[in-house]
Symmetry: C3
Amino acid sequence: MTLTLKEIAELVEGSIEGDPSKSIHGIGALDSANSNQICYAVSEKYKDSLKNSNAGAFIAYSILTHKFKVIQDINNFNYDHQFNYPDSSVAANSAIGKNVNIGKSSTIGVNCVIEDNVSIGSNSIIEPNVTILRGCQIGNNCVISPGAIIGSEGFGNARNSDKKWNTIAHLGNVSIGNNVSIGANTTIDRGSISDTEIHDGVKIDNLIHIAHNVIIGEDTAIAAKTGIAGTTIIGKRCMIGGAVGIVDHLKITDDVIINATSTVNRDITNPGTYTGFVPLMHHSEWKKVGIWLTKLDKIATFMKIKLKNIR
Amino acid sequence: MTLTLKEIAELVEGSIEGDPSKSIHGIGALDSANSNQICYAVSEKYKDSLKNSNAGAFIAYSILTHKFKVIQDINNFNYDHQFNYPDSSVAANSAIGKNVNIGKSSTIGVNCVIEDNVSIGSNSIIEPNVTILRGCQIGNNCVISPGAIIGSEGFGNARNSDKKWNTIAHLGNVSIGNNVSIGANTTIDRGSISDTEIHDGVKIDNLIHIAHNVIIGEDTAIAAKTGIAGTTIIGKRCMIGGAVGIVDHLKITDDVIINATSTVNRDITNPGTYTGFVPLMHHSEWKKVGIWLTKLDKIATFMKIKLKNIR
Amino acid sequence: MTLTLKEIAELVEGSIEGDPSKSIHGIGALDSANSNQICYAVSEKYKDSLKNSNAGAFIAYSILTHKFKVIQDINNFNYDHQFNYPDSSVAANSAIGKNVNIGKSSTIGVNCVIEDNVSIGSNSIIEPNVTILRGCQIGNNCVISPGAIIGSEGFGNARNSDKKWNTIAHLGNVSIGNNVSIGANTTIDRGSISDTEIHDGVKIDNLIHIAHNVIIGEDTAIAAKTGIAGTTIIGKRCMIGGAVGIVDHLKITDDVIINATSTVNRDITNPGTYTGFVPLMHHSEWKKVGIWLTKLDKIATFMKIKLKNIR
């Protein structure tokens, strides 16, 4: 297949920046394409990949104009013009409350709910079906993925003498810094008095739960399905694997790595890599091992081993 | 900062109940504010906290009128007038099916989907982006948080002789009692023949999965990211920690506490506190320990320890 | 209670196929009803159960006409007429992008977002509040449950020398085969270059996370709350329990069963059943056992046991 840029532009119903007669022989990936191939650049997030690519041309898409553009020379390409929008853009069916501030060039996707007194910075993308509840703040250059809930009520309940639950007031908000991404169907609860805080540069994957009053330090990344219980504070530049459970009221220092599916049941005061899970076994093997897993203290007693002997 | 109630009311574009010249020196929390401070009361849930608060004034918000009210004397304050709505209120973009009953003073948030034959009691709050599927029942004084799915199809599949899956009919519904709260993005599946049941006073956190035919007893609380497999029955007044996994067809008695991230792999017939996970270690330490975790039965054999010896 | 088919049809405001004077004495379940009972059939999925049922009559519901039909003789019942729709049906408030193909008899529920260049086969049901992002493909006879997100951005981030994260381009899509069901609030990320692939006949439960570039083989079933990290390949006819964590870049062969809450931390090259978790204990017992769980290598050293001795 060989097409000229002109033919490609017609195909995608877009405009051209470059030589319309330039020939293209196929589609490539940003990092491996050669000068006869064309790449597809879907958002401003790929700006750096575009710069380093050897591709002969690029197809970019403007959310503002809903048009494609075929670009030959990436060095002369005006990113700002292409990817930034002169004003915020709010899609159909989205409900925007009162006193909501949406910064320049930010977009709100279809079917979003943005409640009263929410503030969203500039260049942020709120994807479809997102719910941002009253009073929460989102910084600049953030991406909130579909289905995420920002500012759900914290799970604070106090038992009365009849063992019935009374819900505790959650009057804080969620405060999200700049350059943060939040994954699909992730939930972040509002704080009880002060805010739940997600600091600059934090990357949060899908289906993560962040409870009330949690604070996550700059440039920490958290993989999918992890849960962080209330009032836990996580340092800067941590990397937390998938499906990790972190209990409440802990402090985790900077530069900590937690491997996937571990339970964090204590403070971590030193940087480093931490793990804790049962390795996978054949089920027949596990059935024999499992019973001993619950008898370790008794094995030690039987063998007359004391903890002080083996430290 | 000192403001009069009149100035505060102007600030929030609300009305006043009390002395407009009363001075306020700051904002406080419900439980710690003094008589010179004002508090913010966001919903009827905080009625009790309001009564016990020493704050000099309160800001309340009426979902009905979308207006604030500044209140000086909480004892003369007519909660019913403020927090209850004369009729159910259904927000924009919500889709309500046929034969849906919504009780007095209940509200349906933006972008909700309420399918045919759903019944919702009085004083319940259905937050934005909630989906309640055909035939499910919600009681009085409930809160269903954003993104929750009530009545999704149970995961019942039967393999045929070709090892293909046939989906099993789920003809039951979900039945939710009074004073129940359901967290953000939580999913509750409908029963196969009878209903999945969530009894009065149950509090369920975010991102929880409750499978078909599960029954959860009165006043049980379940923290985020827990999953409960099909047909398991949980007693009254249990407290189940975050990210707990409970397998199917179990019975858990009343007044049981399960600590976070435990796996419940058997019936629990006695009240008490239960736990089971691997404590966190340095990864270098875990690598040495992990291999022995899978060899415990062989250690026992080598040491000539028998289970009967150590009980 | 005894009602004639005519009376039942009036009750549900539906039409009749059969003898209007036939008497019905109660409601039954598809698999246990006798010839004096009536059953309720909610969707085409129950076609097989209907055929094998001994019930005296059936109530079916047409999504197309929003009317019930009371049917006496299931053998003469024209499924195609009842359950199939002459054309695709798109519900209110759903947003459909450009170049979207929706096959014959497929339905799009309320408040769905279907982005540009999505393709959906025939006879598929997209339930309410689903988000299918740009370019993803859904086959025939699929069910996508409420709140599911198909095609969210993969969690690919590369650290620069300042320990800041750069987001990596995800230019692939999600490709879903025929006869697949996806559970409520489940998230499936798009691939980085190639597609994330869900093959024919796969059944995926609620709140599951499937990361970028994962491939899931034919007729595999995955229970709720499981997470599968990036680029892992899972074989055919596997059964993966609830809340399982599977790390990235693994290969799992065909016909593997993983029990609930296990961590899969290595390739699985042989079919069979696999497990790994700590059995539940009384908390007082676990506190004594837990400390030894982290000292197993030291116990072995103290007892002069070597791995080679016990294999």
